[in-house]
């Protein structure tokens, strides 16, 4: 006489796991199971919008730190960190000549973690320029600009320029002596361009010298125009890395 087979008794741990990770709501958010099998490990990358910047598999040599030193990724990391700290700084900062400097002072003295946020934003901006330059050197010395990746190198050069412009426009915002005169020196250089020099300088400053118009222009460029542009070019950059076959490797 056959006895009905019963599934093995499930322990408390499994029940707890199922309660949290096999319920209807969790499954509606994360479609793949826990990434402890190759199948789920590939699914977790392929079904997640952030992780799917990566392929699901990658050549063995490309995960070696010394191949890339993570420099491109670190640049992107700096960009994300700058976005987060930048949004927090925007809560306390008004880009008017009357208020800008006082707002920064208040940020340093009255706002909890305000000084930390400003410091982080500043040092990450410097770090981003350094990592961009190092990333460019890495790509150059590994010959990673070679066909079929020519265009992505051009996108990289554009991103380098955007990084410098982002940092430069942010430099004016504290409205202290350092900011004011650095931007004065910088925009005087722009003004010395042949043919369109004076016009470009006027366009950038909204006047003949650094003043209220320059502050609002630099602010708008810094917090919305240039970050959007950079994000678009970054999307192209990352997309092309994938489309052109991932990281360069010997043919």
């Amino acid at each position: 006489m056959a006895t009905a087979e019963r599934p093995p008794a499930r322990g408390f741990n499994e029940q707890l796991y199922d309660l949290f990770f096999n319920n209807y709501i969790w499954k509606s958010i994360f479609r793949s199971g826990y990434p402890n099998t190759p199948r789920n490990q590939m699914l977790v990358v392929a079904t997640n919008v952030f992780l799917h910047l990566h392929p699901t598999r990658i050549h063995r040599t490309h995960v070696k730190i010394t191949h890339t030193y993570c420099l491109g990724g670190l640049t992107f990391f700096m960009f994300l960190g700058l976005t987060v700290t930048g949004v927090l700084l925007m809560f306390y900062y008004v880009p008017s000549v009357e208020r800008a400097y006082a707002d920064i002072q208040a940020l340093e003295t009255n706002v909890r973690f305000g000084s930390l946020m400003r410091n982080l934003h500043r040092w990450m901006a410097h770090a981003m320029i350094i990592t961009v330059l190092l990333h460019m050197m890495r790509v150059f010395y590994t010959g990673a600009y070679k066909p079929p990746r020519e265009f992505n190198w051009v996108v990289g050069v554009i991103l380098f320029i955007l990084t410098l412009l982002l940092s430069f426009t942010g430099y004016l915002l504290p409205w202290d002596q350092l900011a004011f005169w650095a931007i004065t020196v910088g925009t005087t250089m722009v003004g010395s361009a042949p043919i369109l020099g004076d016009e470009s300088k006027f366009l950038l400053l909204g006047g003949f010298s650094v003043g209220p118009n320059a502050l609002i222009r630099f602010y708008t460029l810094h917090v919305i125009a240039l970050p959007l542009l950079a994000a678009i070019f970054m999307a192209v950059h990352f997309w092309r890395v994938r489309r052109d076959g991932g990281l360069a490797r010997p043919l």
Partner: protein, 300 residues
């Protein structure tokens, strides 16, 4: 080109599964750990070192020296040695275009994806960086009249001549601008046939039609043009070309465009770093060359 790449890609085994690893965990964890490391170190840095905040901006009080942000100090440094239009706009624009154009010029797809792929690339890098480093430092020393000061100090210091000063006959070699200011250009007129050439070197009539409103194109100030435009530009083009020719024909290290690109790029990187560092650490009051510990900012 595209066909060659596709063909080369097709020649390799279609799936090298045994050579591949899964992105999760092998890559994602590396990224996660480096993100954590950098978050922690940047937070620690930010706790201990404050971002600078000087006095409120005051258009009537100019700090001396006034400096651009550090990543533009390379351009500000160039500004001291040539016409502003070249240093601030034309040179960086051309450089960025040339940089972006590198892959369209060096189209071979060999040796990609490995560090220093060609046989001579390491020595080309070191050589290019060395020449860029010392060449740029030497040019800055020359244009800062440091060679004059040092020659005087050495000869006086050795006791050869206690009152030694830079000889007047070599006044033109004090720095670049001395070619303009320390030569009496009025004496340099000469005649070819019936023409007396350039009675006034500082206003050579160019008379380019339709440019009457622009005095620069109407009358050329030759001494200024020579020292602030011709020589700087010739130097910036000529020295890399000389470096290339010497490395190719005397040293024999260059076999491909990739080699040339490595040499010139390395020289450029070193020059870029030297210009930035000199602008940041060695320029004091009135943009004079100073030791880093002698630099004070005066507000005037």
């Amino acid at each position: 080109m595209a066909e060659r790449v596709v063909a080369a890609l097709q020649r390799r085994p279609r799936r090298e599964r045994e050579e591949e690893v899964l992105v999760w965990p092998d890559l994602v964890f590396v990224e996660f750990i480096s993100a954590v490391l950098f978050t922690v170190s940047l937070v620690v840095l930010s706790v201990f070192i404050n971002a600078p905040l000087l006095n409120r901006a005051d258009p009537d009080t100019t700090p001396n020296p006034s400096k651009a942000p550090w990543y533009f100090l390379n351009l500000q440094e160039l500004l001291l040695h040539m016409e502003p239009a070249w240093a601030g706009v034309i040179v960086p624009t051309i450089l960025l275009i040339v940089l972006a154009a590198v892959p369209y010029w060096d189209r071979s797809n060999e040796q990609q994806g490995v560090w220093f792929g060609t046989a001579n690339s390491v020595r080309l890098t070191i050589w290019g960086m060395g020449v860029g480093l010392f060449g740029t430092i030497w040019l800055i020393i020359y244009d800062g009249q440091k060679h004059v000061e040092w020659t005087e100090n050495i000869i006086r210091g050795l006791g050869l001549n206690r009152d030694f000063t830079w000889p007047g006959g070599l006044d033109w070699a004090r720095d670049l601008r001395s070619l303009d200011t320390r030569i009496n250009w009025d004496d340099l007129s000469f005649t070819i046939g019936d023409f007396k050439m350039f009675q006034d070197w500082r206003a050579i009539p160019l008379g380019i039609p339709g440019t009457t409103e622009d005095p620069w194109l109407l009358n050329l100030n030759f001494p200024s043009f020579l020292s602030q435009q011709l020589i700087p530009v010739a130097t910036m083009i000529g020295l890399p070309v000389l470096l290339y020719l010497f490395t190719r024909h005397k040293l024999g290290w260059i076999y491909s465009r990739r080699d040339t690109a490595i040499l010139i790029f390395s020289g450029f990187i070193a020059t870029y770093i030297v210009l930035t560092a000199v602008g940041q650490f060695f320029r004091g009051e009135a943009q004079e060359l100073r030791a880093p510990w002698d630099i004070v900012v005066v507000e005037e």
